[in-house]
C-alpha cells in the first residue's frame, strides 16, 4: 500500500540557511533518506520551492485562469513530500516520524488510491 507524506511547515520555523543548526537539519534528512533506502520503502521524495514561486490554475468555461500564489494561503506551507510503500498505516507513520520537518511543522499521511493497477 502506498502512502504520501505531505510536509507542511512554516519556513520561518525551520533552521535558517546561515544558522549553525542548518547543517544538522540537513544531515537528519540524509539519515532519514538512507533509512528509507535501506528498508526499501521509498517510492519518491521531493522538496518543493517556496510558495512564492507557485501559480494556481483554474479552467472555467474552457478558459484558463491563472493566479499568483498557492491555492490556500497559510503560514504552514506544503514544502515537500515523500511516497512510501508500506505494509500498513503504522509502518507509514513510523517512517513519516523520521522526517525532520515533523519536529517543527506537521506531516499529513494519506493512503494513495489504488484503482486496481
Amino acid at each position: 500500500m502506498k502512502y504520501i507524506a505531505l510536509i507542511y511547515s512554516d519556513p520561518a520555523a525551520a533552521p535558517a540557511f546561515t544558522s549553525p543548526e542548518f547543517g544538522a537539519f540537513m544531515a537528519s534528512y540524509q539519515t532519514a533518506n538512507e533509512r528509507y533506502a535501506k528498508d526499501g520503502v521509498l517510492v519518491i521524495g521531493e522538496a518543493l520551492k517556496s510558495t512564492s514561486t507557485a501559480t494556481t490554475l483554474r479552467v472555467r468555461g474552457g478558459k484558463a485562469e491563472t493566479m499568483n500564489g498557492p491555492f490556500v494561503e497559510s503560514k504552514e506551507q506544503l514544502g515537500g513530500f515523500y511516497v512510501f510503500d508500506c505494509e500498513n498505516l503504522d509502518e507509514a507513520l513510523k517512517y513519516a516520524a523520521l522526517i525532520p520537518a515533523a519536529q517543527h511543522g506537521a506531516v499529513e499521511v494519506r493512503p494513495i488510491e489504488d484503482y486496481g493497477r
Binding site: 505494509e87 500498513n88 498505516l89 503504522d90 513510523k94 494519506r110 493512503p111 486496481g116
Partner: protein
C-alpha cells in the same frame, strides 16, 4: 419436536451472548476476513439467522461457534455477490478453507481470542477520540448502535454514520489489526486507556438522572477488566481499573434525592459500596507492587486514600498533596495543581493554600471548579464578600443542574 421456544427468550439470549462474547466473535471474524465492515455485516446477518433457527430448533450446544461459522458463510455469500468478486477470489478461497477446518472442530475454543488486536485497532490514535469511544463500545463491548447513540445523545443515523466512516478509514488507510510493536506499546496503550477512561467520565458526569449514561461507567469497568485479562502485568491498566471502581463505589452518594450534587465532605460514607472499594484497593496494591508508577496508579492511590478514610477531616491530606505533585510531574495539568492546593488547604491551612491559588487564576479562568475552590477557601478564611463573588462565577460557568443547585446553596449559606 419441541417448538415451544419463545422468540423473546431467544432474543434475550442473543443479546446476552453478544454482550459477553460479541467482541471475541467480531475480532475472530476480522482476523479471518481482514475486513472490519464485512465482519460487522456478516455477524449481523448471522444474528438474524440465529433468531430464526434458534426459535425453531432451540439453542445450539455452542452458540458462539454456531454464530462464528454462520457469519463466515454469510461473509462468503457477500463476497460472491460482490460486483468485484473476481478480485476477491483469494479471499473467498481462504474463507472456504477456514470454514472447512472449523467444521472438524466446531467448539467454542476454535474461536481464537483476537480481542486485544481489535481494541488496539478501535483505539488507534489516527481516529478521533469520540470515534474510538463509539467503535470500542460497538465492537468490543457489544453494545448496539442505538444504545450508543442514546448514551451520547445523538441520532441513530449520526452514530451509524460515524461508525461506518470509522470502519471505512480503518480499511482505506489500512490501520493494522494487530497488537503494536514493543517500541510503540506504551504510547498505544495510553491511547486505549484514555478511550476507556473517556467512556467512564462520560457516564460519571451524567448527573441529571440520565440512567443510560451512567451505564457507560459499568461498560468502562468491564472493558478495563477485559483488557487487564488480555494484557496481564500492566500496572497502568490495573491503576485505571482501580480508579474507576473506587469512583463508582461512591456513585450512590453523589446526589441527593432532590438532584443536588453532594460534595465529598458531605457524602454519607456508610453508603459507599464496600465491595467495590475492596476490589479497587486490592488492584491499586497489586499495581503499585509492580514498581512502575504512572498517572492512573497515582489517581487511583488518591481515590484509595479517600475511600479508606473514616471521615473527611481524617483524610491523609498531606499524602494526597504529594500524590498530586507526582501527577503534575507526569502531566503538567493545572487541574492537578488545583487539587493539590485543595489538599494543602486541609493539611497546612486555608491561608497557605490561598497564597498559591492566584497563580492558577489565568490558566483556569474558565474552569468552574477553580472558582468553587476559591470560594470555599475564601469563606473558610472569613472573607465572605469575595467568596460570594467566586461562587457567582462558578455558578455562571456550571453546565450541570445538580452542580448549580449545590453551588447556589453554598452561595446562600455564605451570604447569611
Amino acid at each position: 419436536m419441541t417448538s415451544g421456544v419463545d422468540e423473546a427468550a431467544i432474543r434475550n439470549a442473543i443479546a446476552a451472548l453478544m454482550r459477553d462474547d460479541g467482541g471475541r466473535l467480531l475480532s475472530g471474524l476480522v482476523a479471518n476476513l481482514g475486513d472490519f465492515q464485512l465482519s460487522q455485516d456478516s455477524l449481523q446477518d448471522a444474528l438474524e439467522s440465529a433468531l430464526v433457527h434458534w426459535t425453531r430448533n432451540g439453542l445450539p450446544t455452542t452458540p458462539g461457534a454456531w454464530l462464528m461459522q454462520t457469519a463466515r458463510r454469510k461473509a462468503l455469500d457477500r463476497l460472491r455477490r460482490d460486483a468485484n468478486f473476481r478480485a476477491k477470489a483469494p479471499q473467498i478461497a481462504l474463507v472456504e478453507q477456514i470454514i472447512r477446518a472449523d467444521d472438524n472442530i466446531a467448539e467454542d475454543d476454535a474461536i481464537s481470542d483476537d480481542r486485544l488486536r481489535l481494541i488496539f485497532t478501535c483505539c488507534h490514535p489516527s481516529l478521533d477520540a469520540m470515534t474510538s469511544v463509539a467503535l470500542t463500545l460497538r465492537s468490543v463491548a457489544g453494545l448496539t448502535t442505538p444504545e450508543i447513540a442514546r448514551a451520547f445523545i445523538v441520532s441513530n443515523d449520526a452514530m451509524a454514520q460515524r461508525l461506518v466512516r470509522a470502519r471505512h478509514k480503518i480499511a482505506q488507510a489500512k490501520i493494522p489489526f494487530e497488537v503494536p510493536q514493543p517500541d510503540a506499546m506504551a504510547e498505544r496503550l495510553d491511547a486505549v486507556l484514555a478511550v476507556i477512561y473517556l467512556i467512564f467520565t462520560e457516564g460519571h458526569s451524567a448527573n441529571d438522572g440520565q440512567l443510560f449514561r451512567a451505564d457507560l461507567c459499568e461498560e468502562a469497568i468491564r472493558l478495563a477488566a477485559i483488557l487487564a485479562n488480555l494484557l496481564p502485568d500492566q500496572p497502568e491498566i490495573e491503576g485505571l481499573a482501580a480508579l474507576m471502581l473506587l469512583h463508582a463505589a461512591r456513585t450512590g452518594t453523589r446526589l441527593t434525592k432532590a438532584g443536588e450534587m453532594v460534595s465529598l465532605e458531605d457524602q454519607d460514607r456508610s453508603g459507599w459500596d464496600r465491595e467495590r472499594i475492596a476490589q479497587g484497593l486490592k488492584l491499586v496494591q497489586q499495581a503499585l507492587a509492580r514498581k512502575a508508577v504512572g498517572p492512573y496508579q497515582l489517581q487511583a492511590s488518591i481515590a484509595a486514600l479517600h475511600a479508606e478514610s473514616p471521615t473527611f477531616m481524617q483524610t491523609d491530606w498531606a499524602q494526597i498533596a504529594l500524590l498530586y505533585q507526582g501527577l503534575f510531574a507526569f502531566r503538567p495539568n493545572p487541574v492537578f495543581e488545583l487539587n493539590r492546593i485543595v489538599a494543602i488547604s486541609y493539611s497546612q491551612g486555608a491561608d497557605i493554600a490561598m497564597m498559591t491559588l492566584d497563580a492558577l487564576a489565568q490558566p483556569l479562568a474558565g474552569y468552574q471548579p477553580y472558582h468553587a475552590v476559591r470560594a470555599d477557601i475564601l469563606s473558610r478564611l472569613g472573607d465572605r464578600a469575595a467568596a460570594c463573588l467566586s461562587y457567582q462565577r462558578a455558578i455562571g460557568l456550571s453546565s450541570s443542574e445538580a452542580e448549580k443547585r449545590f453551588l447556589q446553596r453554598r452561595f446562600r449559606e455564605t451570604m447569611k
